[in-house]
Amino acid sequence: MRPVAVVGIGKTAFGAFPDRDLRSLAVEAGHKALEDAHAKPSQIEAFYLGNFAGPSFVGQNHLAPYVAAGMGIIGIPATRFEAACASSGAAFFHAVSAVAAGLYDVVLVTGVEKMTSQPTPKVTEILAGAGDLCGEVRAGATFPALFAMIARRHMYQYGTTREQMAAVAVKNHANGAKNPLAHMRKVITIEQALAGKPISEPLTVYDCSLVSDGAAAVVIAPLERASEFTDKPVRVLGISQASDNVALDEKEDITTLRAVKTSAEKAYKMAGVTPADIQFAEVHDCFTIAEILATEDLGFVKKGEGGPYALAGKTCLQGERPVNTSGGLKAKGHPVGATGVGQICDVAQQIRGEAGERQITHNKLGLAQNLGGSGATSVVTILGAA
């Protein structure tokens, strides 16, 4: 297996863009990544697209060649990956695998979602399609409801509090306010977060990530060719994808995301590092409780200690291990199919020292964790300065 590097990154702003269609967002991010890599469309040997529900949100299918052709990229393999909110994490994992195996050298991976053209109950229903339609969803489960039930159980077993969850929201909003591409650039207080409109008890609107439009893209290449494209290559040190039951009621212990643990352990092993070595992370905070679970299941803290860890400020920009310096899904926005590749861009941006007001100093080894559904897909990537 050859070492692989991220040699170009590109993102659109995340937000609600009524005048933009899915393809124009994906094309914009792709062109930005190519430009960043000083690469031409003709150099791309394969195109991997992560997208969760384009056919449901906007009615368009056959998305990968559609987007590729929109960039003037024709003739190469172009394939869409669907793994719920981990769609572009999965696309990235498979693209890295193909480059590592020597199948291709220069590959473009894009993630995109166009969600805001549908009313909230319809968006809720489409997202629920990532759950078990014959069981939990038929009973009335939404994604906020599934994570609310995880939160309740975590509170019951470990004494996690609403204040601890609110601390995650406050921190991510503070970071998002400093991110020019974030959907919501608004600082909030713990009191505001606690008093938010209830969505699914105990989660309020401030515990939930945003419904967003947006796209993100990366160009990857073998490390040995990285200098042709950039003087700041970011190396993929470890990467793994894992799966679990789709239905929440089929999981043995809902307070642990088993696929996250499995994929993290494999990624750490591949990278030859331990959780303690990870200096910063972008984790999948689709809900505040999910960030708490992530810090536990990635091994940053012991099970049950994620809430106190967040409330103590350990994951803030100035904390011992900054988490979601981008603002996370909570404030940066969560165009679901774009999120996985977006996280890779965010971690790479920190490693390259280009995060502006959000730049951290211990930025050499970062981790990205992308989750699908209530944990049925997990992709963990460890990135480092090459």
Partner: protein, 72 residues
């Protein structure tokens, strides 16, 4: 569909922001019930609000969804 019998609330929530199909039901309580046979089932709680650890009895199926009620 077979009667799942009684069980214990493993976890629960009250939903305020529904999917399109259930806009007329909100707010409603959703729960994962641990049944006597050890299996878990996602269903609805009818009537009085139930919490983790509460005993619940099966009431009926409505549109293939199991409804439970807190044991008095």
């Amino acid at each position: 569909m077979t009667n799942p019998g009684s069980g214990t609330v493993y976890t629960e929530t009250v939903v305020y922001s529904p999917p399109e199909a259930y806009v007329n039901d909100v707010p409603y309580q959703l729960a994962i019930i641990e049944l006597e046979n050890g299996r878990r089932l996602t269903g609805r709680i009818d009537g009085e609000r139930a919490q983790i650890g509460d005993r619940v009895n099966f009431v009926d199926f409505r549109n293939n969804v199991a409804f439970f009620k807190k044991t008095a």
